[in-house]
Amino acid sequence: MNKVRYILDLNNVLPSPAVRGQVHAQVAKVIAAAEESKKPKKAKKAKNKKPNDPKSKRRVLTVIAVIAAAAAVGAVVFAVVRRIRETPRHSGDDSSTTTSAENGTTSATAPGTEADPVRLDAYPVTPLYAGDKDYSDLLAAIKYTLLGSDGIVLMNEAGKDRLALGYADDTNASVSRIVRGIYAASDYGDCLIESYEGLVSTTGDRKILLDYQKGFDPVIVAAKRSGTFEYLIVVDVDREADGNFSTHFSSKAGRFIDGVYMFYPDVLEHENAFIYKIRFECGHPVIYDKAQMYLGNTVKYKEDRIAIRESDFFSASENDMRAVVNYSEVLPQQCPYTFALPGTYDGLDLPENTVDPGITTQVSRSEICQIINNSSSAQWFIPLDAYTEDGIRYLIGIRIDYSEGNYWSPETGDVVRREFITNTGGKVKLYYSPSTSDRPYLCDDFSKAVRMIDTYTVKDGTVLPGKQTSLSSTFKAMQERIGATPGPKYTGTMPVFKTADRTGLTAFAAELLQQCKDPGVSGKTGLFEQLGLTVAAPVTTGTEDKPLSDLSSPDIIIAFSGDYILSSVEMNVYSVTQTIVDGDGATAYVYGVRGYVIRAGQSVTEGLTFTYDGYLNGIYWNGGRVRGSCTAGDGFRIIADSDGNALRVIDSSFEYAK
């Protein structure tokens, strides 16, 4: 062969995730077919293999880098799809297992071939769990937006147009919801919107926008609930005018009949899909995360539905997703923000020990945020009840002012606690145990701690200025006035007035509970703000995270990385001392809090470990109570810089010896 020197760069010529899925599907299918036939073939050893002769190696092509066209990978995917659809089946393919480029499947009898254009034994696909939720907004958000791993929200042209219209007309609830979803999906509320234009060189999940731009629609084929989250398996389809629809991998995946996507049975078995982690907040679906998954052998048919093993909803990446609900991962800026309250009015006459009164009243994020914004010091608002009388909606709840210790801290076992100080100085404790529930709990001393109840009025969706403050006992009277009798009747659903015959923890009616994200970094405009939903940043201790140079007390600055051990904590009524040692046992930090005496070199009593995430973290213990007399584990937090170096250790609300 003649020597040829050409310029070509194949670095970007790579199989897309879709192709990878198809190839693995091919393997799985062949193996499954072999097993099913129960005729295992004897391994054939390849013959006539000659080792490479290095002496005869001769490079005849010089590869010189060529900058690949932007959006190569994304374009590759689309090109594959396009080619798969457009390319006529090759008649000369003599391999029974050779994949047809036309139908994208691996069987000669695969659905969608020209010889068998319509299979009537298609199965209607219904989400395994859908409830009565309206997923249209979710699907719109999936279709138009995407949160990149770098925190940039991507939006395709259609989505951008819709967003623009939404800003022009704030009654466009759909766009608003999408944007809220974008916001909620971001880690810190510090996300930016960018059109995929200009980002064409990016790869990975952004390709989905390109695909959707070409007409694909997301279809939920299965779903599962886990705690307050739902995990949805979504397959992208492209429906033609004749009712046939295709997927990325199958040119004829099924038919759209009477509003139902009827997939050919074996199509889904070889599909790649995306699994979305979502949660409904105020009835709005919010996307928290997504991951790609290969349905492969996970899809099983059961009667007229597909079934997917529960474990397949939670792949490795899914477990990562679920880590969000693990207390050690809960960030300080996350907080309960929106509540679905149990129905405590309408003159219900509930039997004793009613757990679920059957109705709920929702208090929206917007309402709560308005209350917070209208206050100079409010940090949170925990609604307790909401009802409408004479056209006026009343929100009753506890206003939480800035308070120390406002982060999750260990309590006992894996129960963590968050403590608030109310507007009257009382402490409110919120508990959460990821092992038993995704829902937070209020302690039964809640009503004791809360002495004042605020009542806000809402008209046309806007919280009116001013409020009525009343004693908590008045709230009971109000409850009675509107038809509900507080007290034991609502054990299990009314944490404020629960009786003490339970273990001390009572679940919120937190069906729609969400974790609110930090509304944004100061100086930056977050989506939350753009939506007019700006709330006070949840300052958690009154001590702001400052650059290293700005710290006023350099003597308490420590710089370290990795896990350290809080080796000793000694507390009594008058002093608290924390000693942190590094992995070699050397004292890294000794800190006396609140002006008390520093006592170094305390003996080790329990191992308390803390980690940080580059921002800040509370401490959590791994050994239970320290010295049995104080709950030290909830005591301080770490502020770290973006490199993970701890800048400061701050005490907060130690609960002193009792």
């Binding site: 194949l10 062949v30 054939k44 050893k45 393919d93 480029a101």
Partner: protein, 122 residues
């Protein structure tokens, strides 16, 4: 061979195999089709236990690539996606498939020209 082991092999060779198939077919669809076909046949014939898996795979890749029937992308399309316009580039993609395959194999797979020729059946 266990499924997991096969999957490992598939992943190991997939990227370069795809490039090779692309060079032969000049088509993303063709590359995908050839890759799936070759991997399927490798699995069906239990060739993952072969002494020279790579060679077996590339032989099948070539077979499926030249038979896949996928329409090659135009020079302009390929150029737009993967390369700058240049005479050399156009010359390369204008070569017959077997010559492109040989070039690719000799470069990317570090095969001798003779072995590369054998792989593609020449």
């Amino acid at each position: 061979m266990e499924t997991e082991k096969i999957s490992e092999y598939v992943e190991k060779y997939m990227d370069d195999a795809y490039k090779f198939a692309f060079i032969v077919t000049l088509s993303d669809a063709g590359a995908a089709s050839a890759l799936k076909g070759a991997v399927g046949e490798m699995t069906e014939k239990e060739l993952w236990d072969s002494r020279d898996v790579r060679k077996e795979l590339y032989t099948l890749l070539y077979k499926h690539a030249v038979n896949c029937g996928a329409e090659p992308m135009t020079a302009a399309e390929i150029s737009e996606k993967y390369g700058r316009k240049s005479d050399d580039f156009y010359s390369f993609i204008a070569l017959p498939a077997e010559e492109r395959a040989t070039c690719h194999l000799t470069v990317y797979e570090d095969m001798s020209e003779e072995d590369a020729a054998k792989v593609i059946g020449k």
